[in-house]
């Protein structure tokens, strides 16, 4: 009996050990996780603190880092190597897990740490060749001694931090997922930059547009899916005289080919990462110096995509936001120049139907001959499972991402088509940022951004000397009209890209007569621009609002810019709603539908969280769009907002009548029916008209942790703004960094982003800026003179020294 009891006791201990020592599904191993000497307990606020003195083998001289009240590091180094070493070190100190995790995701290596649930995502990232592209770029970057020094110093800094970590001081998420950081290399940095390129350029319209073009013809494409909005102004003012001519590439007989994409369901248009930037001349500001504002709209995550920093060394003194994992400042200012970016949106990714010689896919047809393919074997290691091998076939266009329609991929890409993308080529964004951080005037700015290749950006600038303007950057292919809108013929050389638009021919504006420049992801030029441009551009609403506000302002102060960034008036609603209200007879409405109608009539088109009118308008417009388009283009992608808005102003549009009924509907009919459908749907979903219909309750914002753990996220944020307002609210996208910079003539700046500097959920700086961001507050940015930093006595600091000093 005693032996039996002992056996039971033995088995109980084995069970307890297994229960505590190993992960169970997505749950962390409980023993290591709750161990107060190495588990989550050590991820408390003290992790923010670095010692006052740190010694490193790799430093050439001493470096001092001050942390201000908002936990922003200000790094003062005596040479470039030490500057970027320190940047790598402090960024890793605050964001190591985020850097590591993002790189693994981009490289298609999530399954190594998560398990089988991420295999599809990993396969997709490998199929689109992000690692391949990063490897090519690193190989190119390492040929340049300056870039090599920056990349290697940054990597050394990150690795110095990793080497300093004991298991107990690993970031929390490593403990949750039970894995350890790997050594950082320049390839990791390149991967992050390629991911930005992917995020900002991967608008894969070709499958949908080819289907629509084939089914409904070119007229529908011109009418309903134009690249440029029918409303608003381009970035470069209309009437600009283009003093150059573009080549006319040879066109093929047909603009497209129809591969096996019919098996693929049409997708919704992807939410567009939009942004705002604008600059006004010194003649328009109260201080006489130019002033710049920028707020890039990117996915809002915890930790934030941005990390604030000041970098100072001989030849550079720059402040702004950096990408955790990449050296230099991406958006910011120095004492002579400020710059801000919005996404250019120009199409730099095309898809080509490939004809393989046989099922081995060893050869493909091009220009009347068979060419050999290249194959890259991808091994996806899977935690708790067998390694998966995937063969990616490359043509000279690029990788064939989807072999068959039955393949499960997270993004809708054409079947059997090869992808050509500028980011697959070696690119030089890091060089551009290095020079931009040091630029002191327009000429140096221009020389810097000429190297910025992918993702193309509309980069606005303001100089202390009074110059200001905006330059469209990026490597943009020369194409014949409509090239790249559809799936091209991969065997026909006429579908090849015909070189690049020279940088000198890219649209730009400097010191325009109207006293300001701006961009908000609209089509950049008027119809007279010599080159054909295609891409993913957004509604005119934000750009029109910016321009009308700036045109009406004088004696501009930074506070006025901050108010503009928080502006929630929708030009789109202002344009459409009066027309809609005029189409619906109030007296014909049932009693219960009158109060929302009356509130809409009194609404001033502002997307305030406490109002119900935005909710009703948004839903009404959606219902109306469905009523207009679903009979004309059944199952197809819904046209963009401005196209539906145009139809609202054209009662005789051929798209108004519902083809599925014998009755000929008018716009009045559709407006009435869609209003009724709106009230019915909202009543059903949210109860009778009242506070539950308030915009802030209907469209709350969530800033999710990268692992989507609610306790590490901020959810249910009630915030003003809509998809068409300057203060944008289009989850998961939002103003990821608001910045205002004024030259008075000394540079002064304000900024905020929705998150916090620390990636440690146990830190008070993990999410300390979110409430201010929601409220529309801006924080003064502390920018030290390079030669005489004057930190507050309360600030913490760390002196980094080399061991030989």
């Amino acid at each position: 009996m005693k032996r039996f009891n002992l056996l039971i006791l033995f088995l109980l201990n084995i069970a307890i050990f297994i229960l505590l020592n190993y992960r169970h599904g997505l749950m962390p191993a409980p023993g290591p996780f709750i161990n107060p000497y190495a588990g989550f307990w050590l991820n408390n606020a003290t992790q923010d603190d670095l010692p006052e003195v740190l010694e490193f083998e790799d430093l050439q001289d001493s470096v001092i880092v001050f942390w201000d009240e908002r936990y922003v590091p200000h790094i003062f180094a005596k040479n470039d190597h030490d500057l970027y070493f320190a940047q790598g070190y402090v960024t890793a100190h605050d964001r190591l897990w985020q850097m590591d995790m993002q790189c693994r995701a981009i490289a298609g290596r999530l399954s190594e740490i998560i398990g089988p649930s991420t295999i599809a995502s990993d396969r997709f990232h490998r199929r689109v060749g992000l690692t391949w592209a990063a490897e090519r770029t690193v190989s190119e970057m390492m040929k340049d001694p300056r870039t090599r020094l920056v990349l290697e110093a940054y990597a050394d800094g990150v690795n110095a931090f990793i080497a300093s970590l004991s298991p107990g001081h690993l970031p929390l998420e490593y403990k949750l997922l039970s894995f350890k950081p790997e050594a950082w290399t320049p390839l990791h940095t390149a991967l992050l930059m390629k991911f930005m390129a992917w995020n900002l350029t991967a608008f894969i319209d070709e499958p949908d547009f080819t289907l629509i073009r084939a089914r409904y013809g070119p007229q529908v494409m011109r009418d309903v899916y134009p690249a440029a909005s029918p409303f608003g102004d381009p970035i470069v003012p209309r009437g600009t005289n283009w003093e150059f001519r573009a080549p006319y590439p040879d066109r093929p007989d047909s603009e497209y080919v129809m591969p096996d994409i019919m098996a693929v369901a049409p997708a919704s248009a992807r939410s567009h990462e939009g942004s705002n930037n604008w600059v006004v001349a010194g003649s328009r500001t109260v201080t006489g110096g130019p002033m710049l504002a920028n707020d890039p709209h990117l996915p809002l995550t915890m930790p934030s995509i941005w990390y604030e920093i000041q970098l100072t060394a001989p030849g550079v003194n720059v402040y702004g936001v950096s990408l955790p994992g990449a050296p230099t400042v991406i958006i910011g200012f120095n004492d002579s120049l400020a710059w801000g970016m919005t996404n250019c949106g120009t199409d730099v990714m095309d898809w080509y139907a490939v004809k393989f010689q046989d099922e081995t896919r060893a050869h493909y047809g091009f220009d009347g001959a068979w060419r050999p393919t290249e194959k890259r074997i991808e091994k996806i290691r899977v935690r708790g499972g067998a390694t998966i091998t995937d063969t990616v076939v490359f043509t000279h266009h690029g990788p064939v991402v989807r072999s068959t329609a039955s393949e499960r991929l997270p993004v809708n890409v054409p079947v059997g088509a090869a992808m050509r993308w500028t980011a697959h080529e070696p690119t030089h964004e890091l060089n551009a940022m290095y020079d931009l951080n040091r630029a002191r005037n327009y000429e140096e700015f221009l020389a810097a951004v000429a190297q910025y290749e992918c993702p193309g950006q509309n980069i606005a600038f303001a100089c202390a000397n009074g110059d200001y303007g905006i330059v469209i950057t990026g490597k943009i292919p020369v194409r014949w009209k409509n090239q790249g809108r559809y799936v091209g013929d991969g065997s026909n050389p006429r579908f090849e890209w015909h070189g690049w638009i020279p940088f000198a021919h890219l649209p730009r504006v400097k010191n325009p007569a109207r006293g300001f420049v701006s961009s908000a992801n609209q089509f950049p030029v008027d119809e007279h621009y010599p080159y054909y441009l295609n891409g993913s551009y957004v509604s005119h609403a934000r750009s029109t609002r910016i321009n009308e506000e700036l045109a009406g302002m004088s004696g501009i102060t930074p506070e006025m810019f901050m108010a503009m960034q928080n502006d929630v008036v929708s030009v789109h609603a202002r344009k459409v709603l009066p027309l809609l209200l005029g189409l619906v007879e109030r007296t014909a409405l049932p009693m219960e539908e009158m109060p929302p109608y009356e509130d809409l009539g009194k609404w001033t088109y502002d997307y305030r969280a406490d109002l119900c009118a935005p909710t009703v308008f948004e839903r009404w417009f959606q219902e109306l769009a469905r009523a207009i388009w679903c009979d004309d283009l059944p199952g197809m992608r819904m046209p963009v907002t401005d196209i539906t808005a145009r139809v609202v102003g054209e009662p005789n549009s051929p798209y108004v009548d519902n083809r599925e009924t014998s009755y000929r509907e008018t716009l009045r009919d559709l407006a009435f029916q869609s209003y009724h459908a709106t009230i019915t749907a909202l009543t059903s979903e949210r109860g009778p008209y009242g506070p539950s219909w308030q915009w802030g309750k209907v469209a709350p914002v969530s800033i999710d942790h990268l692992l989507r753990i609610p306790a590490l996220s901020r959810t249910g944020i009630v915030k003003n703004g809509g998809a068409t307002t300057l203060n944008v609210n289009e989850p998961p996208l939002g103003p990821s960094w608001r910045m205002v910079v004024a030259f008075e003539p000394e540079v002064r700046a304000w900024g905020i982003y929705p998150g916090g500097q620390s990636g440690n959920p146990g830190s008070c700086h993990y999410d300390d800026m979110i409430d201010g961001w929601v409220a529309g507050d801006m924080m003064p940015l502390v920018f030290f003179n390079a030669s005489s930093p004057r930190p507050s006595r309360a600030w913490r600091y760390t002196v980094m020294t080399g061991r030989t000093q």
Binding site: F10, L12, N21, G31, I34, W41, N44, S166, P167
Partner: protein
């Protein structure tokens, strides 16, 4: 003054707790593995016992005490935020519950391991080391 049997037993328990706690603290600080809360009670049960009840309570008390010290150190060092977030993530409601659960895990694991150590020693009929 005569020392009564109960007083002596209490003194032994207290001494054992102190001894085990000090060893556990050094172990955790040198090599911060969670499984010290099982290994040390197992060894204690094997070599330093008087009764099953004795080894179990001494082990549980020591290991809970040592983890309590670690938890308090974290809490006092600015650990309220991380405790609150982890408690929510684990569905434990609040930091206090997380505190209690952490200590219970240490206590239960220690008690079980100590019982096993004691049982093994009894099974092989090895005399205990007597102080």
């Amino acid at each position: 003054m005569a020392v009564h049997g109960n007083d002596r037993a209490d003194a032994v328990i207290a001494l054992d707790i102190v001894l085990l706690t000090v060893i556990a603290l050094l172990s955790h600080l040198l090599m911060p593995y969670w499984w010290w809360v099982m290994l040390l009670p197992l060894l204690y049960g094997l070599f330093f016992h008087r009764s099953a009840k004795h080894v179990c309570w001494v082990s549980a008390s020591s290991m809970m005490l040592i983890w309590l010290l670690g938890c308090l150190n974290s809490w006092l060092g600015g650990g309220t935020t991380i405790m609150s977030r982890v408690a929510t993530a684990l569905g434990l409601g609040g930091s206090l519950v997380l505190f209690v659960v952490t200590l219970l895990v240490a206590g239960i694991a220690a008690m079980s391991a100590a019982g096993l150590g004691y049982g093994i020693r009894k099974a092989i009929n090895r005399p205990a080391l007597d102080r």
